[in-house]
Symmetry: C2
């Protein structure tokens, strides 16, 4: 078994992907740099070497999640530049909720100013991108993000998505309101 040697850039990209997976499950404080390292198949000190601190690794993961969501929306807008089109794209993201849950953990950790500032910038950019792509009014965009946040929370709660728990009366009731909106729900 020869250890595959990658460039620092490639390794960083791989580690950021691993960080998104790990942090989206247990959040900032609940995730170990060693867990991220093992996911990528490298040693824990090397993770620190490449990102300096756990915090910078976390911020890189938040940034990556924001970038991927923005890219998804831009791609969707090329076919259907309406809120409905972006909503469908968001529904597809929720089938693999890593990215959106990562963002939620960014919100949750925003109490620390060093994390809050980049997280707000990331969310603000997403808001502006949606308005720019769809031409929606502020109120329309607000309702769009409102539903998005609800779905994101439901995903984190395991009411929704691949790791969803058996439905309860209330959750079936609530999810039923999204009929015709979910395309690729597992």
């Amino acid at each position: 078994m020869t250890r595959t040697r990658l460039t620092a850039e490639e390794r960083q990209a791989q580690l950021i992907a691993a960080a998104v997976t790990a942090f989206s499950q247990s959040g900032y404080a609940g995730t170990t740099t060693d867990q991220v390292a093992r996911l990528a198949g490298v040693s824990q000190p090397y993770v620190i070497r490449l990102f300096r601190t756990k915090q910078e690794l976390f911020l890189a993961a938040v940034q990556h999640a924001g970038d991927r969501i923005e890219a998804k929306w831009r791609e969707a807008a090329e076919r259907d530049p309406s809120l409905g089109g972006l909503g469908d794209a968001y529904g597809e993201l929720l089938a693999q909720p890593e990215l959106v849950t990562m963002l939620l953990h960014g919100f949750a950790a925003a109490g620390d100013p060093a994390i809050g500032d980049p997280v707000r910038a990331c969310f603000g950019r997403l808001y502006e991108v949606v308005r720019e792509l769809t031409g929606a009014t502020a109120t329309e965009a607000r309702d769009f993000f409102a539903v998005g946040m609800l779905l994101t929370c439901l995903g984190a709660m395991r009411v929704l998505g691949p790791d969803a728990v058996p439905p309860q009366p209330w959750s079936a009731d609530l999810l039923g309101t999204f009929e015709g909106l979910d395309k690729k729900m597992s």
Copy 2:
């Protein structure tokens, strides 16, 4: 300085209040049982003695937040049993976002099944209470909670509430859509 001696019940109630304050700032993994203990003016081992584990303390705090929010809604419904009435009540809660942020951290920590189950039960109960109190349809209740989740996330992000950061163009734009809905925003 004579240490005030309380009954276990009173001390538990006091500790739960302290736990809500502490956990709502740093989340489950990011908060120390010692921080909760200091907030209540007791020793850390005594917190563990009263709640057995950190996890049970956290769950008690989540439960308490859910109960308080439910009580607030029931009280509001006596005056105005409409979604608008409950929405105003929620707006008042956001002025002191401890309770709602506590709940958000419950969602974030729901990846652990031992936490997820009670958290889902808590949220499900709130959903049913809203529908029962207002007679709203599932879709109306969904939109109500959607906006609530957005506001909760914005509070956690310090876009909203007492610890809010200076507004950005996008946040002013977004918050502007709530004009006429915010009564007691600080």
